[in-house]
């Protein structure tokens, strides 16, 4: 019991959000509030074609008629959608042509966050070290995308969404909104109306993307939200690995982040999508401030033998409402979901996945590890369903919850719907605290208490960490440690 008590004390004593600073730069904003004019303003700022504006306005009309969903196990006061700005961008002339034109304050911000925006910085390491291209999104705009040239040589398009709308309208029109329809849900619909930058990736047939792609999202401006939209298309037989990271300043107000991510995998294509989410979680004592992370992520395994894998490490946000899903349409397509969700302080997370088996021989695997500490609440909510045509569908789900302390909560709400006689679904879930026996064993071998706890927690989340791209696994492991500082780090 002593060990657990210490763990609880240590967890209670933490508060170390190291990305909570604000960058002082000149920014321009959309007028406060949300109306057709706001939508038109954003579209005009982004220099969009008429069809895009129409698409946005239609979404806005639909959103106006919708109500905020209330089924998730999270509670927050009603959001005043008129009391926010929907566009915030660093002041610039025509958008920087090169890094030298980017506001040095922004560059400093990314430096502080440890995100390499200069290609040579990435290259400066040991020869043969893994490289990755970055799209840096600052509030509503993408400030820089690295390695574009090298990627273009391989035929890969990696750019901001705004640029894609202008430069590759055919691709955008063909795929945008086909995975997450405009009125899919309240927050996705809001996003469709006001979305700002996100990343656009197209990998042509047969191409294995030569490096990891990543987007780093940063909310900086006060009184605004971030509504990015990401679209990744992996054409026949291609492969791409993509990672997103996110942080925000510490503020007493709540800020909304309502993103939409759409993935399309055609025949034999594979997409690996990893997220390290570290938005400001709010004050652990009072619960004041923090990001509302209401995100819709969905992958469409459209082609036969396609494969999508979601890996997420969720440590931040005051409230997380997020269910990265796979629609397994293609024959023998595969969906995977690996998740670590850590809540501490007064955080609330309601997260999980949906695996929708439509095609024959489709397979999915769900591994979810939830850790709750402090006064937080952590819910796994998932759906696994098999359509009558999904003969031979297989799913394996494992969700484990770990509780640290007497005042936190962990919930597991899986939905299983089997609609044919040739599917095999297995689901198992456990909820426990750190095992006294294991702690005792580790300590008896001479490990200090803190290291013992760290060892056990790392063991608990290992299945998921090993799914992350190598260079980010280290970062994620560090993040896990910081999120539960005291008890694990």
């Amino acid at each position: 019991m002593v060990a657990v008590k210490d763990t609880v004390d240590q967890v209670a004593g933490l508060e170390k959000y190291e990305h909570g600073f604000v960058t002082e730069i000149e920014q321009e904003f959309a007028p406060r509030g949300l109306s057709r004019e706001t939508v038109a303003f954003i579209s005009q700022k982004k220099d969009e074609p008429a069809w895009m504006l129409e698409w946005r306005l239609e979404a806005f009309e639909r959103w106006s008629a919708m109500g905020s969903p209330d089924w998730a196990r999270v509670s927050f006061p009603p959001i005043d959608y008129q009391d926010a700005t929907y566009y915030a961008a660093p002041k610039a002339k025509d958008g920087p042509a090169s890094l030298d034109e980017v506001d040095p304050e922004i560059l400093k911000t990314y430096e502080k966050l440890g995100i390499p925006l200069r290609e040579q910085e990435v290259l400066a390491g040991v020869t043969g070290a893994p490289r990755y291209a970055v799209d840096a999104v600052f509030d509503s705009v993408s400030v820089v995308t690295t390695f574009k040239k090298e990627l273009a040589e391989a035929g890969v398009i990696f750019c901001s969404m705004s640029e894609a709308v202008r430069e590759h309208p055919d691709l955008v029109r063909k795929y945008l909104g086909t995975v997450v329809p405009v009125s899919d849900n309240f927050f996705a619909c809001l996003n469709s109306a006001v979305f700002s930058d996100g990343s656009f990736v197209y990998v042509p047939p047969g191409v294995r993307c030569p490096m990891e792609l990543s987007t780093y999202f940063r909310i900086n401006a006060a009184g605004s939200g971030q509504f990015e939209r990401t679209l990744i298309i992996a054409d026949r037989g291609s492969y791409v690995s993509y990672l997103e990271g996110c942080t925000a300043p510490m503020r007493d107000e709540n800020q909304l982040h309502a993103a939409v991510v759409e993935l399309v995998a055609l025949e034999d294509a594979e997409i690996k999508y990893s997220t390290v989410q570290n938005w400001y979680p709010g004050d652990p004592e009072t619960g004041k401030g923090g990001i509302y992370n209401f995100v819709t992520k969905r992958a469409d395994c459209r082609g036969d033998r396609s494969r999508v894998s979601w890996t997420q490490v969720e440590t931040g946000s005051a409230i997380t409402w997020k269910y990265p899903s796979c629609v397994l349409r293609g024959r023998d397509s595969v969906g995977e979901f690996y998740s670590i969700a850590i809540t501490n302080g007064r955080q609330q997370a309601d997260t999980g996945t949906k695996m929708i088996h439509l095609g024959e021989g489709t397979r999915s695997r769900v591994i979810s590890k939830g850790i709750s500490a402090g006064r937080s609440s952590n819910t796994y909510r998932g759906l696994v369903s098999a359509h009558p045509k999904a003969k031979g569908a297989r799913n394996f789900t494992q969700c484990d919850s770990l509780l640290i302390g007497k005042t936190c909560a962990a919930h597991t709400v899986p939905y299983i719907e089997a609609r044919n006689g040739a599917c095999t679904f297995e689901h198992e879930a456990t909820t426990t605290r750190l095992s006294e026996d294991q702690l005792f064993y580790a300590r008896q071998r001479g490990l200090p208490e803190e290291e013992a706890v760290q060892l056990l927690v790392n063991g608990f989340v290992r299945d998921v960490l090993q799914e992350l791209p190598m260079e980010f696994a280290v970062e994620a492991q560090k993040l896990v440690a910081i999120s539960l500082e005291g008890s694990v780090g």
Partner: protein, 344 residues
């Protein structure tokens, strides 16, 4: 949404529907456009023989909604009650029964649901188990294909009480067994088991919710079943462990066999945990019979039909093995065998 009121006021708008999260797979409002006329009283001669006939125990009947409103077992007493809930015709009726089991008393409740016709019925049972009391509730439901029936049990346990329940059902047009237990911990134990064998277009829903309110409580749940043809099975189990209910040990398992491409199994095993010193787990599986095992058995000379029956029987038999009352367990086993034989 309240079924009892819907029947009493004949207001279909009060029926639970798929919009109510806990009823999403057992939609009554979408099924019934109107609430049938109240059921006519039954003559004693209309009731016929019951499945537990011949076993020792006090007989109690609720026929088309009329019958006793209370069963009391005094402190220290040991009693078996054979409760028959019989419905005939196409009317609607609702009834409520209170069961009090005094301190250290033991009740074996052999409960059957019979008939059903094409009507709508609701039986609500409120049960209180005193300190150290025990109740084993064995339910056998064999209803007509067109019946719509809901059976609810609301149980409140005192410390040290034990509640064991086994529900066997062949379903109905739409049927639900809902069990809600307030679990005080402190040595109290709850076992909530069930088995279903569903064919044709039958539907059965086993829903339960156990709230651990005090420390050191045990809950153990095992539900198994098979669905064939166009049948649909629903399993919803929720175990809640409130703050302070430390030392809770709760286990839940639901295993289903789907034998047809048009059958459906929907499951939602839920854990809601607000205490840290707990050991809670659930498992849920859905699948077909193992072809390799079938092959092995056939290779040993068993005809396919027999091999299938044997596999299903051993699979579902696990639920009967946990029944404590031996004579009743034999009845349940042979009923289950007959159902499986007819189904496979």
């Amino acid at each position: 949404m309240n079924l009892e009121e819907a029947i009493r006021l004949r207001d279909p708008a009060r029926l639970p529907s798929r919009r109510d999260e806990d009823w999403r797979w057992t939609d009554l409002r979408g099924l019934l456009r109107a609430i049938p006329e109240p059921s006519r009283p039954l003559e004693p001669g209309d009731i016929g023989p019951g499945p537990f006939d011949g076993l020792p125990g006090d007989g109690v009947s609720i026929a088309n909604g009329s019958g006793p409103e209370e069963i009391r077992v005094a402190g220290g007493e040991v009693r078996t009650v054979i409760l028959r809930h019989v419905s005939r015709g196409d009317g609607a009726h609702a009834s409520r029964l209170r069961i009090e089991v005094g301190p250290a008393a033991r009740l074996t409740l052999l409960e059957s649901h019979e008939g059903g016709g094409s009507g709508l019925s609701l039986l609500g049972i409120d049960m209180r188990l005193g300190t150290g009391a025990a109740c084993e509730r064995l339910v056998l439901s064999d209803l007509d294909a067109e019946a719509v029936a809901v059976v609810e049990l609301e149980a409140e346990l005192e410390p040290g009480a034990r509640l064991g329940q086994t529900v066997l059902t062949s379903g109905a047009r739409r049927q639900r067994f809902e069990t809600r237990v307030r679990h005080p911990g402190q040595g109290a134990e709850v076992r909530l088991d069930g088995a279903y064998v569903l064919r044709e277009r039958r539907h059965a829903d086993l829903t339960s919710s156990v709230r651990h309110e005090g420390p050191d409580g045990r809950t153990d749940q095992l539900a198994r079943g098979m669905v064939d043809d166009q049948a649909r099975a629903v399993f919803q189990g929720r175990i809640t462990v409130l703050e302070g209910a430390d030392g809770a040990d709760a286990r839940m398992a639901h295993n289903a066999l789907i034998l047809s491409d048009r059958a459906e199994v929907d499951a939602r095993p839920e854990l809601e945990i607000f205490a840290d010193d707990v050991a809670c787990a659930h498992g849920a599986t859905v699948g077909a019979l193992d072809e390799e095992v079938l092959f092995y058995m056939r290779q040993r000379g068993l005809p396919e039909r027999e091999a299938r029956t044997l596999l299903v029987t051993s699979f579902l038999g696990g639920v009967i093995d946990r029944v404590e009352a031996p004579a009743a367990a034999d009845r349940l086993r042979s009923w289950l065998l007959a159902q499986i034989g007819a189904a496979s």
